[in-house]
Symmetry: C2
Subunit: 158 residues, 2 copies
């Protein structure tokens, strides 16, 4: 996959990653759904990355510990994590990123840097409202939104 090429940004710290996992565990418990080891592993891999990861990237990493793991296992875990709002899928990259605000469902907008691979998750109410208005004007009832801007982040322009 290797989304970013030019600059290297720091990987998320182990502390951050652990905190995100803790939160995920808490949320799953509250919701009465099971963050099983496989799901936890997949989430851990995603959260430990500074870049969006493709399903097969995740697979490859998991194989370090579990050599015989196969695609369906990963995709099932991804489906679960998506449903629970713990991760997002970037359609334009065929890749997945951890959600920064998994406590409640939301629509996000993503700024994706083509140079360094950084992904910025926004929740602009203006964007959301303008999209809702546009849909409403057509009598359209949205269920899911995909909003992704590809370009260059501030750092990579400098």
């Amino acid at each position: 996959m290797n989304v970013g090429k030019h600059y290297t940004r720091p990987m998320p710290s182990a502390t951050e990653t652990r905190k995100a996992l803790k939160l995920a565990e808490k949320l799953c418990q509250e919701r009465g759904v099971r963050l099983t080891p496989q799901r936890r592993n997949v989430l851990a891999v995603i959260n430990a990355s500074d870049q969006p990861l493709g399903a097969y990237d995740i697979l490859e990493q998991l194989r370090a510990q579990q050599p015989r793991i196969a695609p369906p296992t990963v995709y099932r875990a991804l489906d679960f994590l998506l449903t629970e709002g713990l991760i997002h899928k970037l359609e334009s990259l065929h890749a997945f990123v951890g959600c920064h605000h998994p406590d409640h469902p939301h629509h996000s907008q993503f700024l994706i840097c083509e140079d360094c691979g950084e992904v910025d998750e926004l929740h602009s109410p203006l964007v959301r409202d303008s999209l809702d208005d546009a849909a409403k004007a057509r009598g359209f009832a949205p269920k899911h939104s995909t909003v992704e801007l590809l370009g260059r982040c501030a750092r990579c322009q400098a």
Copy 2:
């Protein structure tokens, strides 16, 4: 592919399709690029459909006339048509639709009905501006936007 299932909407009329092709030819001529027969064929197939088409759907249709045509030919034509803004790619469907306003480059928003497969191409200035503002606030320079809402169109809700 077969995006829509419940309702059947009328296919674009032959007249509409011909008009779109004429316009594409004119635009390409103006721009000094070549709308070759293959490219024209791909565009014709897309414009003649009432639904977004996957690359392999297009391939299959072209094979009626050209049995030995292969994926790269279709993808190359699609790349050209995307570059020229004659079609759009719907990332969330891995499918392509004709552009309704190919005369000048633009960012669109798509309302995609999961029931009937209808795709509505919008150009809401409010959406565009709010996205631009959000990006600007982060110092992000967008090159390409993907904005797709999946849900149910007005007709399919009734």
